[in-house]
Amino acid sequence: MAADTGPAVSAGSAGLDARRWGTWIFSVGIWIIPLLWIDVVTYMTLTIAGLTMGALLFLTASGLTLIFGLMDVLNLAHGAFFVWGAYAGFSLLNYLNTVGWVEMASIGPSAGSLVLVLLTALAVGALLGIILEKIIIRRTYGNHLKQILITMGAALVMAEIIKIFWGPNDEVILVPAAFQDSWDLFDIVVNKFRGVAIVVGMAVFAAIQIVLQRTKLGIIVRAGVENREIVQVMGYNIQRIFTGVFAAGAALAAMGGVMFAIFKEQIYPGMGDETLIFALIVVIIGGMGSVAGSFFGALMVGLAFNYVAFLVPKLALGVNIMIMAVILLIRPSGLMGRK
């Protein structure tokens, strides 16, 4: 469902091309302009941090954009999946700590813990996604206002339930030992977990693209994003596909959540709301329904945030909103969305 980055599909589209190129030039500019003010070493550190944040944001945003693109559902409870994934991982890490896995510095137990944690988050996210879709979401199809209100309510409820089980305070989350230090590359200090995060992010992106482009399921999903009706009349149970995609989106968000928590070494019930705003911005910038768009959008948001946080700290949180506003003005359907 990511439209190709070549010439636009419809005829007579000189104007369309100009806008699209405009948004891309603007986006790439974000990567390069900071070099005017920052020295190379700091720039590289910030870039790594930005790419990490981008990779993690992508996990959350990809689910959101797929859900909106395919089901036309605005899910403001997405942040709740994020936070539940984080807490599930948190508890698992605490347990793994009691059997000594987390402390061991060798790569085996650490990688193993991470894999287990990711799988748990995935399972928790998928389960919550299925439940939410069946109980609530499917009753709101076609009614955006209801969706917004109900998912806001659901997000609230899910965050409160977390506070019941885990308490409302900030907690420190454990980081598997092998990922705790940093590598030193040409004077650039790269925190190991950041590297892992980037790798995981890219792996997930690759996996999603493979599924979407090369499997029958991917064809069905991409077709559904473009035109739900045709898929239905060809004999596919679109409802089951919706539930599946919703669950997948939730699972992705949950994985993003636990990775993010480990990255920040901190976990608190309000994490979901803050990330949701960023994820929404990413989805708008990248284009609703485009996974590739949310990948590039996420990287952009992550980089912009880190560069500006270094240059003008007070502006950091606002810069992404400004980028979103600019993109909305130039090309409301985002970098890779369809008009």
Partner: protein, 236 residues
């Protein structure tokens, strides 16, 4: 004549507040081409979409080979053997031609591949553009693809909604020939504004007016009945 393969009995359909189908009854006979004609807004497309389950029938009965289908979901109806070629956007532009076919072939099978080959013989252009995104095809080619997608499975009935819309006359001619080759093996229900095409392909006709069947019969009789054509179709 044997039992009709598809029949509608007093079907009422509402779209929002509007009472579009006000008691449509018609029978479609197997391995013949049936055409629904009538003015704009008469309810022709709505009839097809109601059969397909895209609009829920408020009352009445729809039967496929005697089996009631009026309350079923579209994907169910498709699996029972009814194919549907919608009026607009019957093809997925962001997928390649090949992917469109893969999607249409619900189950990939040997028989499916054979049908695909015969479809390619019917529409050779589609084979040429197999790996191109369907969006770049011309209007006529898109329409060919749309119909081809419905032929790739062994449907019992194929519903086609205004295939000639927006196509040049020479393309419509080709379309007519293709449809004629299909109607011997598959039951076709065609909604068509273009009376020329309707009369070329159709063997039975139903005139829809104000959400009801106003007249029916054999196409060969309608062609010469200028009074009917003038009254309900505004032509002749």
């Amino acid at each position: 004549m044997a039992e009709p393969i598809l029949s509608l009995k007093e079907v009422h359909t509402y779209i929002g507040q509007h009472h579009i189908l006000q008691g449509v009854s018609l029978d479609v006979n197997a391995e013949r081409a049936t055409v629904l004609v009538g003015r704009n807004g008469a309810g022709k497309s709505t009839t097809l979409r109601t059969i397909m389950g895209l609009y829920p029938a408020r009352s009445g009965r729809i039967e496929l080979d005697g089996q009631a289908i009026q309350h079923r979901k579209p994907f169910d109806i498709a699996r029972l053997g009814i194919g549907f070629v919608p009026e607009d956007r019957a093809v997925l532009y962001t997928l390649t031609v090949e992917e469109n076919f893969r999607l249409a072939m619900f189950r990939e099978s040997e028989e499916g591949r054979r049908r695909l080959e015969s479809v390619f013989q019917l529409f050779p252009d589609l084979k040429r553009f197999l790996h191109a995104k369907a969006g770049i095809l011309s209007g006529g080619q898109k329409q060919m693809l749309a119909i081809a997608l419905a032929l790739v499975l062994d449907h019992r009935v194929v519903l086609i909604d205004e295939p000639s819309k927006g196509l040049a006359p020479v393309v419509v001619e080709h379309l007519g020939e293709s449809l004629n080759r299909i109607r011997d093996t598959t039951t076709v229900v065609l909604v068509e504004q273009n009376f020329y095409l309707a009369s070329q392909v159709g063997q039975d006709y139903f005139i829809l007016d104000d959400g009801r069947v106003a007249h029916q019969g054999l196409m060969e009789d309608l062609v010469t009945d200028h009074e009917l054509k003038q009254k309900y179709l505004g032509i002749g």
